[in-house]
């Protein structure tokens, strides 16, 4: 039992919403770990290049000698290796599938649109991105109402997989509202999601682990060439 908990490292960045997901999950499960900050503006560290040779991206969870890459995969790994409460993934198989469906939607559709807004792509690209985001938040509002079954979070009374996946990304949604002047989360269109962002930010396991919008905004200018290169082919 003690062996399972030994030697857990998280290679990440305070700025990364993807690393944020993993930090929240580890905190939720009370898994003590070493957080190794990767400076996203510096050349990639040897540890990162060794641990994720294919994609060279954070976050990477290093458990003993094993590196686990991709935030969604890491979340599932954490839930399996530390299966004690609270559970991250829903217990119902179809709910599990739906949560993963929406997690893919967030990462495949919303994140590239957010990046396009935040790195200052062309006006045409930004307009298209905003359209995707406007549609996306309405769909997520529906998903929240359905999956929460009337409770505060996608996971019900407590946060779960989709809350952890979307939570840090919602910081970027807030930022993009500032960058574009277009309100995405509104009382009229997305009241549940709006309430959810407030409930999430005061949730104990999440406090202090979401990317700080001011810091992210400040660094987004410096991050622009990096983000452009990383997401250019998508």
């Amino acid at each position: 039992m003690g062996d399972r908990d030994s030697n857990v490292k998280l290679l990440g960045s305070c700025l990364s919403p993807f690393a944020s997901r993993v930090r929240i999950a580890l905190h939720l499960k009370s898994v003590s770990h070493e957080f190794i900050e990767e400076n996203l503006l510096e050349p990639k560290s040897q540890l990162l290049l060794r641990s994720n040779p294919l994609y060279k991206k954070i976050p990477v969870l290093i458990h003993g000698a094993n590196p686990i890459c991709e935030s969604l995969i890491i979340l599932q790994y954490i839930d399996e290796v530390w299966p004690h409460a609270p559970a991250i993934l829903p217990s119902d198989a179809v709910d599990r599938a739906e949560s993963k469906f929406w997690a893919f939607y967030v990462d495949d559709k919303l994140v590239p649109a957010l990046i396009a807004v935040l790195i200052g792509e062309s006006d045409v690209a930004k307009k298209a991105a905003v359209a995707i985001l406007e549609e996306g938040v309405v769909l997520l509002e529906g998903a929240l109402r359905k999956l929460s079954k009337g409770k505060a979070f996608f996971g019900g009374d407590n946060i779960g997989f989709l809350d952890i996946v979307l939570g840090p990304i919602s910081v970027l949604i807030g930022l993009s509202e500032r960058f574009t002047g277009v309100e995405l989360l509104t009382e009229a269109e997305t009241p549940s999601l709006l309430r959810w962002t407030h409930d999430l930010s005061s949730y104990a396991a999440v406090k202090g682990l979401l990317p700080e919008p001011e810091k992210f905004a400040e660094f987004s200018v410096k991050l622009r060439p990096i983000l452009r290169a990383r997401f250019a082919h998508k």
Binding site: C69, Y77, V81, A93, K100
Partner: protein, 223 residues
Amino acid sequence: MAAVKLLGAWVSPYNCRVICALKLKGIAYEYMEEDLLNKSPLLLQYNPVHKKIPVLVHGGRSICESAVILRYIDETWPENPLLPADPYERAVALFWIKFADDTTFPIAMMYLITGEEQKKAAKECSEMLETIEEHGLVEGKKFFGGDEINMVDIAFCSVAHWLGVIEEVTGLKAFEPHKFPKLNSWILNFKSVPVIKESLPDIETMLAFFKGRREMVLASKSS
């Protein structure tokens, strides 16, 4: 057990992934072929977000996205597991399934492009194959899953079966057996598995389909 329906399109490798999994597990299902140019109300009802196949319907509840469907099938019918039991090995398998999702989707669509775009796609395809050859496949291992096929092998079915057809139809060359010996062995091994042979669409039918589509694309580009 509740009824299982699969909404699919025979020409789609994503549909094929699900058929492979259902057949490997011996799960009885009703198959409904979708006309992708004239989507059924049922498809729009079960996948309102993406309106895409495949969609698995189990006991009236729908599951969308082939990678999600594969996990759902594996969890709901746990006999003949398609993922390793060890959490780390499982994470590695999921990594390769994600890699397949991220990099192989252009294969079935490559008949749509010509000229510079096609050259670029062929180059990206070669890089993808190199990555699998170098990092994904282990010398001496028959399949990604070891001695038996697993979810990762299934996830790469487009490389095993669609790539050759698309190359023949478009003339582009990304795969060469001598350049990718491990991948070559894997393709031969994968396609010899009886359940897989049963699940893959007929090559001649595929060639006819993609040749026809290719002709339409070239005709529209020259007009």
